[in-house]
């Protein structure tokens, strides 16, 4: 039951550059660690993050095992019109998580 935190301004002026912050709970097990018994702990990471605005991709990231647990990503976008941001995290073992946030542009 992973929790995600997404921070998008609820309102922005047209043309303003706004920051979007996301935090997703995930162990990001790198796949290079061994148990005390010597067995490799299999890799279990988020491999891809995408942010879309009104259906169009505005930001995407490929993530590798060097991304810390509970991945944090912050990036920018220009407020052009009111609408909805959709966030998607995809990872190993069928991991898929989504979130969304609306913005009103004046």
């Amino acid at each position: 039951m992973p929790a995600a935190l997404v921070n998008v301004p609820a309102k922005a002026k047209r043309g303003a550059v706004i920051e979007i912050k996301t935090l997703m709970s995930h162990v990001m097990e790198p796949g290079y660690r061994h148990t005390a018994a010597g067995e490799v702990v299999p890799r279990d990471i988020i491999t891809s993050f995408t942010c879309r605005f009104n259906g169009a991709e505005i930001f995407r990231a490929d993530l590798f095992p060097a991304i810390a647990a509970n991945p944090f990503l912050s990036f920018f976008t220009t407020a052009s019109e009111s609408g909805r941001f959709e966030f998607e995290w995809i990872g190993d073992n069928g991991f898929v998580a989504t979130a969304s946030a609306a913005i009103i542009v004046e």
Binding site: M1, A3, A4, L5, V6, N7, K21, L23, S25, V27, M28, A68, A69, N70, F72, S74
Partner: protein, 259 residues
């Protein structure tokens, strides 16, 4: 790495021994926050960047989830967490009249589960227990710590203090040797700090996850190569209580970030 730390501890304290344990004066007390880098402070300060807030979110769901044979949720009895739990964590560990002993916040949650929800208690350091204690502790953020004020706790505070002063482990170190006498120094790359438990449960960068004060104390005991107290052992609770009373009046920061 442990061996390197052990050598560093001995090198550090070789000169300091056999100094008397000097307790820290009220005005000299500093939260672990003060020892952190600007980046780690920023991580704690921004609620949308503090990974401990994921645990708080998790706790909000658990707070409203019915559990146990009684089919009750925390909110069924306590209502809104930001009202009913405001200031509660600042008083913990607190005296439990039924057992005549102190209980910490995690134990209090588990007492509720057993008695009122008729559910199995959560395991120490379980995701659920950390989430609920993070949620509850968060409602005391910024409030002064008052744990230990209850006069019925005096014998436990004194016992906890004795444990803090008592040398233990293969390195033969007491908590006080580092955290009263050498808190302004470094051990390997890390600040030693004063061991003021203002932010628990914490998100520790080293753990890449949440943990309780008990987990942190067990880590310290392993560090001096002592047998760590069991989770929830009376000595563990007494030590937690002494540490918290030692931080009397300092602001609750939970859920904090620590390196």
């Amino acid at each position: 790495m442990m061996r390197r730390a052990a050598i560093a501890i001995l090198a550090l304290l070789g000169a300091a021994l056999p100094g008397l344990a000097g307790e820290i004066g009220e005005s000299a007390r500093r939260s672990g926050y003060e020892f952190m880098s600007a980046d780690t402070k920023a991580m704690q300060d921004d609620n949308t960047a503090n990974p401990a807030m994921l645990s708080v979110l998790d706790g909000e769901t658990l707070w409203r989830t019915k559990a146990g044979a009684a089919g009750k949720s925390c909110s069924d009895c306590h209502g809104a967490v930001d009202v009913s739990m405001k200031g509660v964590a600042a008083r913990y560990p607190a005296f439990n009249a039924a057992s005549g002993a102190p209980v910490d916040l995690g134990q209090r949650v588990n007492l509720c589960r057993r008695q009122h929800q008729e559910a199995e208690p959560f395991a120490p350091e379980s995701r659920e227990l950390l989430a609920l204690t993070a949620l509850i502790a968060r409602q005391s953020r910024g409030m002064p710590i008052t744990a230990g004020d209850d006069p019925r706790l005096a014998p436990s505070v004194a016992h906890g203090r004795a444990l803090f002063m008592q040398r233990q482990g293969q390195l033969n170190l007491a908590c006080t040797n580092c955290h009263d006498d050498n808190w302004d120094k470094h051990l390997a790359g890390s600040a030693i700090t004063q061991a003021q438990p203002t932010g628990y449960p914490i998100y520790r960068l080293e753990w890449q996850g949440m943990g309780s004060l008990q987990r942190r104390l067990r880590g310290c005991m392993t560090g001096v190569r002592a047998q760590a107290y069991d989770f929830d052992a009376p000595d563990m609770i007494a030590l937690e209580l002494y540490l918290t009373s030692r931080a009397h009046g300092m602001a609750v920061e939970a859920p904090a970030v620590r390196p």
